[in-house]
């Protein structure tokens, strides 16, 4: 029982980061109807940008974090303007291929600049160590990561609900043409969505880079987060949070109970098997919109 509780708490911490990544996918999909596979690459970008600023340039923490966020904003603007805007109105495969290609391209650029080693931030970013609460041992970086992701998601929800731009983004989600007729600058909305998604990706990259170390394979975590969105539904931010936390717990429980029985690395495979099951039994997720089609 204690063991299970421990796994669940650790799973929730990991799930917080999954939720943050998943929300990034949802933001872009909600307003632009493009599924941005390159969100996974933003994690790598964030982790390495922070490494560059914090360790190589040895900037103070606040400057390094600001630099990383700025990289995220710039990347969002660039990707939206150069790649995604010419593809509006193209068949669905075009954005899929471009974003997948972008993911591999980021991998290539990172390999070229940093090589294939694993880097860590050491003690320069979030404090190391652990808290002892009863029988639980909570690693501090995980707890901080969970808190930071939840704050970021909370800020995003406030942005959606309280600001004019957030309202515009929700309208754009309904219908692009209708939104344009209502006087909403749809292009600007797209721009904002990409910037927000990239910033969220970069934040999760900083946190993951702290926990797992900076390596090229960080984007696999991003791909695994796709399972979380499918669970919650592609259009729902609440669903992404629920899905992310569920996925984190599921993964930790797998490590605890299934890994000794199954050969190899079931931790990699479990999210995808989970994803296939959801797709078969609940194709639109828990809170996703069921599309009704007509001729």
């Amino acid at each position: 029982m204690e063991e299970l509780l421990k796994l669940i708490v650790l799973g929730l911490c990991m799930g917080g980061i999954y939720a943050l990544v998943a929300v990034g996918y949802v933001v872009v999909y909600k307003s632009t109807r493009v599924f941005n596979f390159a969100q996974a690459a933003m994690i790598t970008v964030g982790a390495y940008a922070l490494y560059q600023a914090l360790i190589i340039w040895s900037l103070p923490i606040w400057a390094a974090v600001l630099f990383t966020l700025a990289v995220g904003v710039a990347l969002g603007l660039l990707v939206e303007r150069l790649l995604m805007r010419p593809l509006i109105g193209q068949p669905i495969l075009a954005p899929i291929v471009v974003t997948l290609g972008l993911m591999l391209m980021v991998r290539g650029v990172v390999l070229m600049i940093f090589g294939g080693q694993v880097y860590g931030y050491g003690e320069h970013f979030l404090p190391l160590g652990a808290w002892h609460v009863g029988f639980l041992t909570l690693p501090m970086i995980q707890i901080y990561a969970f808190i930071i992701s939840m704050v970021a998601i909370f800020a995003l929800i406030q942005f959606y609900n309280r600001t004019r731009m957030g309202l515009g983004m929700r309208v754009t989600h309904e219908d692009h043409v209708v939104a344009q007729n209502l006087g909403i600058n749809v292009k600007r909305v797209f721009q904002y969505s990409w910037v927000i998604a990239c910033v969220l990706g970069v934040i999760s990259g900083m946190l993951l880079g702290n926990i797992q170390g900076c390596c090229v394979e960080l984007d696999v975590t991003g791909i695994m987060a796709i399972a979380a969105i499918l669970f919650g539904g592609l259009e729902s931010i609440g669903g992404a949070i629920v899905g992310g936390l569920t996925l984190g717990v599921l993964q930790m429980v797998t490590i605890g109970y299934l890994a000794p029985i199954m050969p190899g690395e079931p931790i990699m495979m479990v999210p995808f098997a989970f994803m296939l099951l959801i797709l078969i039994f609940k194709p639109y997720g828990l809170f996703g919109l069921v599309r009704i089609e007509r001729l």
Binding site: V97, V98, L100, G115, I226, L276, L279
Partner: protein, 353 residues
């Protein structure tokens, strides 16, 4: 999509209307091309023969993706894994049952087709983006099963296998004989794919791609059609995998990484959708770029000593993405469309109408 037919050729019989090649010139050119492909086997060195064999195997696999994605419109991000299933079926048949390549090759096709159909079965309820997720999951699950089912697949060590046994006194251990075998198979598969696209089933694929509800209203069983598309596409991938594995005489999980699945899809877009010629162009371009990246390695070693390994790995990733993105932005309909335009303008040449 024939934009313009050669001037002055009319279809007077059903036989003429069905013909793939309409004029004597076309017949002559295709015969010359095939003869030339057979002929150069005896003048090429082993390096060029090996490159051609790889290209032919990937042409066959690419035709499979063209059937799944280009004709039937079901996005698959797991095609390299289906090709890998073909490789491993062949390897297991040879290693555990002791059967020869000649039996293993069709079994590889059928095995990959069945696996592809299994992972394509969510297409009963899923469309477009959601189906792409399902096939992405398929890739990871297939790789997990293959690398961990050690009694069958040998895990990460891979399996050694052998080339086809001699047939009619031809020894396939000799590089140019294997080239001729692969070339013959490749031409047969291209012929098969080309004709498949023109049958009732091929037209049903196109109908499902363009509007599946309308297709259902017209009496096409959508689910069966989609499953058949996955099955046939997987069959092609399996045959391509068997050809590739037979050349290398070894299989390993590293032969079909996720990147390859993505490049399959990306280069299909570069080649052009819904055309056999496009799929051929796509595979040739992909593998030629691949070879170019490998040839660049010594150059990088000279410029950036010590970093060459990573630079080579990243160079191909960056170059492929740039090629795909440039094509998508400038010529979204692919090489095939451009080729049709060139042909049409040649036919019309002095008259600009």
């Amino acid at each position: 999509m024939a934009i313009h037919r050669p001037c002055g050729t009319f279809d007077r019989t059903y036989y003429e209307a069905k013909a793939i090649f309409r004029t004597r010139l076309q017949w002559g050119m295709i015969t010359a091309l095939i003869l030339a492909l057979y002929g150069i086997a005896f003048v090429m060195n082993d390096y060029l023969l090996g490159l051609s064999i790889v290209i032919f195997s990937f042409i066959v696999a690419m035709l499979g993706l063209q059937i799944i994605t280009g004709y039937a419109g079901q996005i698959s991000i797991g095609h390299a894994a289906f090709m890998g299933v073909g490789m491993y079926v062949l390897a297991c048949v040879e290693a555990h049952l002791g059967w020869s390549w000649w039996v293993g090759m069709p079994l590889a096709g059928i095995g990959a087709g069945l696996v592809s159909m299994f992972f394509g079965s969510p297409s009963a309820r899923l469309k477009e983006l959601y189906l792409a997720f399902a096939s992405l999951a398929a890739h990871f699950i297939i790789v997990y099963v293959i690398s961990n089912w050690e009694t069958m697949t040998g895990g990460v060590d891979g399996i050694w296998l052998s080339r086809p046994e001699p047939l009619l006194g031809i020894d396939f251990m000799v590089e140019h004989n294997y080239y001729l075998l692969v070339l013959t198979l490749c031409i047969a598969m291209i012929y098969l794919a080309k004709n498949l696209a023109r049958t009732k089933l091929g037209r049903a694929f196109v109908a499902v791609r363009d509007n599946d509800i309308a297709a259902e209203v017209m009496g096409i069983n959508i689910f069966n059609t989609k499953l058949l598309a996955f099955g046939i596409g997987g069959f092609f991938a399996g045959i391509g995998g068997a050809m590739y594995a037979g050349y290398n005489e070894y299989v390993n999980v590293e032969f079909f990484p996720l990147n390859d699945s993505i490049w399959f899809l990306g280069f299909l877009v570069v080649g052009g959708f819904g055309s056999i010629f496009g799929a051929i162009c796509a595979a040739v371009l992909w593998k030629l770029l691949d070879e170019m990246a490998t040839l660049m390695t010594p150059v990088f070693t000279e410029i950036l000593p010590g970093l060459a390994f990573y630079v080579t790995a990243s160079f191909s990733l960056i170059m492929y993405t740039l090629v795909i993105v440039i094509f998508l932005v400038l010529e979204p309909r692919g090489i095939n469309h451009r080729w049709n335009i060139i042909k049409a303008s040649y036919r019309l040449h002095p008259f600009a109408y």
